[in-house]
Structure formats: structure tokens, C-alpha cells
């Protein structure tokens, strides 16, 4: 067993699960979506991105690309949140919440792709 592979898989998977946890719930209800979960998803996503940096295979290029997409989506979601609450005083209206959650939904897709790619890579490797 390779410890670095465990850590790598852990972060990629954790990014997906946190993202899914945040995404789950009514799309426009702020009570169903915890800001800490979004923060955690973003941080884990960033760490996963950094871990994928500096790899050269075709698979890792795809992994890195999907990770960058995740970061982009989650940063956008966090920005929407910060602007709505702190910059403009609109507050967490259902419309704002729906935007944030749908952005995280996009990130969820990319995270899912990351995990699928990683699984394929691992399966191919063991054969």
C-alpha cells in the first residue's frame, strides 16, 4: 500500500463528499446549506488541486483540469455568498441561495468526474 496514494485518494474523495453534503437539501433554503461545509469543500478542493499539480500523465492532466473547474465553481459560490451578505446587504434570499447551491452543483459534477477518473486509473493500474 502506498501512503501517498491513500492521502491523494482521501482528499479527492473528501472534496466530493463535502461538496455533496453542501449540495444536499432544498435549493433555495439557507437552513439546508451550511457555510462551513462550503468553506471546507473549497479548502479540500484547493488542497486536492495542489496535490495534482506537477503530474505529467494524460490522466493526471484531466484530473487537474476537473479540479480547477471545482475550484472555480466553489470560489464563485463563496464570492456570491460574501457579496450578498457583506457587500450589498441583500442577505441570503432564496434567489441568492439557489445561485450558490447551483454553482456548488456544478462543482459536484466535476468532483464526481475526478473520483471516476481516479477509480479508472487505479483499476487500470491493478490489472
Amino acid at each position: 500500500m502506498n501512503m501517498s496514494k491513500v492521502v491523494f485518494g482521501f482528499f479527492v474523495l473528501l472534496a466530493l463528499t463535502l461538496n455533496f453534503g453542501f449540495f444536499l437539501g432544498e435549493i433555495d433554503n439557507p437552513d439546508h446549506h451550511n457555510v462551513y461545509e462550503l468553506f471546507a469543500a473549497l479548502v479540500v478542493g484547493l488542497i486536492a488541486t495542489v496535490m495534482k499539480l506537477g503530474e505529467r500523465s494524460q490522466m493526471s492532466a484531466m484530473l487537474l483540469a476537473s479540479s480547477l473547474v471545482v475550484d472555480l465553481h466553489l470560489i464563485a459560490a463563496a464570492l456570491v455568498w460574501a457579496i450578498a451578505v457583506h457587500v450589498t446587504d441583500i442577505g441570503l434570499t432564496p434567489a441568492v441561495m439557489a445561485t450558490i447551491v447551483s454553482l456548488s452543483g456544478g462543482a459536484l459534477l466535476a468532483n464526481l468526474l475526478s473520483v471516476v477518473l481516479l477509480t479508472m486509473d487505479t483499476a487500470g493500474f491493478s490489472r
Binding site: F39, V43, L46, L53, G54
Partner: protein, 574 residues
Amino acid sequence: MNDSFAFLFFRRMRMPLIVLISAYAIATIGFTLMPGVDDQGNPWRMSIFQAFYVVSYTGTTIGFGEVPYDFSPAQRMWTMVSIYLTVIAWLFSIGTIISLLQDPSFRLHRQRARFRRGVAAINQPFYLVCGLGDTGRLLVRALSDRGHPVVVIDNDEDKIDALSVETHHSLVVATCTDARLPANLAEAGLRSRWCIGVLAVTGEDLTNLKIAVTAKLLNQRCQARARADEREVADNMRSFDTDQVVNPVEEYIQRVRLAFERPAAFRLYHWLQCGPDARLPDIRQPPRGHWILCGFGRLGRAAHALLIELGLQVTVIEEDPMLEGLPQGTVQGRGTQAETLTAAGVEGAVGILATTRDDVDNLSILITARALNPDLFVGVLENGLSSHALFRAAGPDFIGQPSSVTAGRMLASMSAALVEPFIAQIIKAEESTCSALIERLEQLNDGQPPEFLSFLVSERRAPAVARLLEQGSDITLGALINDPERGERRWPLEVLLLRRNNQDVLLPDAQTRLALGDRLLLAGQRGIGRRLASVLENEDTLVRALTGQDMHNGWLWTRLLRLASMGLHLRMFR
């Protein structure tokens, strides 16, 4: 391959970046958890946005103070934690970046990336010089003076560093790499469409051979020129169509032979092929009689064969008695000692050739032999250019410099297309012709070798001339150069060679009429090429040059002339 150094950077930066992200995340979360009090005295906790704001300015040591409200003791405690956390994370990252920048392998990657960019940015014909010895340096200097970008590779870092602090007239890109590997040559732009010549002038024959092979195989359009000290290697190079192979030994022998047999031809030959700063050699003709040859190495052997062939009596002085092929009567010892020289009969000798591999020995032979016999004709071999000042001060009758001879020969042949046939003609020409040529060429450039230029009389290369010829005009060679009105020379220019139907004519007559398909070799003052080009390409200038009158061929002017000659006629509105 191209962005490998970016990959290396990210791979090394992985850990510091993860530490940095984690530190920021922990500090941010911590701030949102610490209980605080707002300005009304109500309990208050930071949102993630506010916490990230505080961490951002604390972590970068900017420190705006406690915003939006004064911190509670718990928040201050966490501020301390986050300061140490983030500062340490930053120090770790920056330390890694700095150590990475100083890492030799990373620096190498960066240098190579810069070199590749430098080569890729060249967008005009350039030369690739392999090897930066004396020859390489002369070539780089001369080629950049001619305005060509030069790419240089050598495996000695110090030489590359020394080159990078010199100033050149055009772009010189250099890197330290092994020229024997084809990949490195390709990286140096061998396959670029702008690469017009590869010059293999390293100190090793086999390296030069490999470079020449690689150049010929990877880029058929570029010319490969190589130096080869061994005759076998030279033959090998010629066997696969290397465009020019210079063997310094053969070249030296050729010049010594010319000096013996045809002094004027020697002066011309040597002068034109010794680099751009060469001076016309003032040499007395080597006398015939008893000669002493010091050193029986590669050059010594060839010189011995030549002297014997010229029918001279030769005594060889050689340190190593076990060398193969030493002639009878060889004096064993070093030519630097008076006894050895006396034993070889220096008092009765007419000349001495010092051809050992050691420059100091050669100088010493020169001085000792002169002391024993002041009338001696002394020829010395100067292996490296570093002690050139000593050689000049010692004042031998003839200096053989393998590096400047090699460079000079390559430069002459690169300067214009017809120089090689011209040199071949000189070797065959009469002595009087050579003397006359020297006299005419010497004035062109204040004693320095003239600039060569060659052109083809064709629609593309000399459109104005071609058009006039097609209209039936006669253009003589003399008319190109002389001013018909004043009957004097217009330009410091000489026509050296005319090639017509594969026949070379040395110094064609001024009355020769130009024809389409002629190739001409001219020599002139430096910078004459550009002025001549304007005449060859512009009909107006050419007609003015040939007749001294303006040719009014502007559209409006032609129309006005027509009007004037025909009176006011409605033809204008046709």
C-alpha cells in the same frame, strides 16, 4: 518537454502550498469560532468572510488592527495562533521557492528554457557554431559583425560565460551543452528553417564528424562546415557531402607550398583567408637550401613530405626517437637547445620550421635559432591564440595559426557564393595577375580584406539589370563600376570573377557585356553590398548610373512628357 521546468516548480511547491492552504483554513475557521463582543456589547462572532479578511492581512504581516470591532481576549489569543501559523507557512513556502531557484537542476532547466526561447525567437538567417575555442570565437565575432545572429554551443561553462559578457553586433545565443547529441543540436535550432549553416569547430575530430553527420541528416538545406585535423576524418566528412571541410594541416601545407613557389599568390591567398582583420602579409620568399624541421607530429610529417617534394634538404629534430617514420639523420632532442640546433646544422641552414605542439617551445626555438643564425627564415606554428602578442614581438617570417586559418577559410567561403571558385582560380593564375590583384584590392579597404559579394543576373536577383537586358540594352561590366561621364571609378569595387555557362573567367574584361544567367563575384569596400543592391533592383537608379541621366518613368511624369511632345491632345483622357 517545453514546460518541464513549470512542472518541476509545481512538483516541488506541492507541500508548501498545501501547508499554506491548511494554515489559512485553520486560522479562518478558528476566528469564526472565537466568541467576541460588538460595539453595543452584544455577543458577536465573525462570519467566514470577516475571518478570512483578518487572516489575509495578518498572514501577510500587513496588520490593519482589530476590525470591525475590538477583539475579545479569546479572539486575540487566536490572532496570536494564526500569526505564528501563517507566518511559518509563508516562510516555508518562500524558503522552498528560494532554494528551488538556487537548485542547480532547476537553474539548468531555466537556462535551457531561456536558450530555447532565444533560439525560437530568431527570425532571420542564423549560423550554429559548435565549439568555442579560438576558431569558434573568431567565427562568432566575424559572423555577428556581418549581422547574422549566431547560436553557440560548447560544453565548457566558463567559455559560455566569457562569451555572454562580450558585446556583439547581432544576437548571440549561447548555451553549455554537449554538441555530440543530436537532440541538443536540434534544440539549438538545427532544424529551424532559418538555420543556414552549421560550423563544427570543436577541438575534437570525432565530435566535429558527428556534428557534420547530424547536420546533414537533420537539415538538408543548411550548409555543414567542419574542421578535421586527421585526414581520415576529413575524407569521411567529404564522403557524405559536408559542404566544406577544413583541415588545418592541409591548409598550412598549401600555404607553405605557395610561399615557396609563388609568393604573390601566397600573399593573396593568405590575406583573403585569415579572418576579417587580416593584414597583407609581408613575407620574403623562403630560400631554397638546407631546412631544419622541429617536431615530427601531424604537421611536422606533412611539412617534411612537402619540403622533400620541393627538393630541399631537411634535417628533423624530434624528442621522441621511437616515432614511426622518422627519416634518416634525425637529430634527437629538443629544438629549444643550442646544441641540438647546432647538431642539426643550423649555421649552414637557410630556414627552420618550428612545429611542436607547445607554443613556448616554438617561440624558444625561434629565438635560439635566430641567435645562432640571424639570416634564418623562421616559420613557427602558433597552436593557441592566447600568446599571440609574444609571437608578434618575436617576429618570425611566417606564422601558422590553425585557428585563424580555419576560421578565415570558412568565413571567406561563407561570405559569397563564388569565393571558392575564385580562390581556386588564384591558385592557378599567373604571378603577375596575383600581384596586380593585390594592388587593386589593397586600396579598397585600407589594407584589410575586401567584402565579397556575388550576384546572379536574373529577374529575381537583379530585376533592373534583367529588364534593361531584355529591352536590348547593352550593359558592360565597366559601366556598372565606372562613371561614364567623368571616366573615373564610381565605387570602390572590383569584378573578380564571371561565371557564364559553368566557365569561370578570372578578372573579366571591362568591355564584357552582361547576359542573363551570368554570375558575378565582386569585391569592394565594407558595406558596398547594400549600395550595389539598390542599383541592381531599381531601374531608375541603374539608368542614372549607366547614362548619368534621369529616367523619368513615374506615371505622371511620363504622361506629362507625352503631353508636351504631342501638344495638348485629348489622349490624356483616353
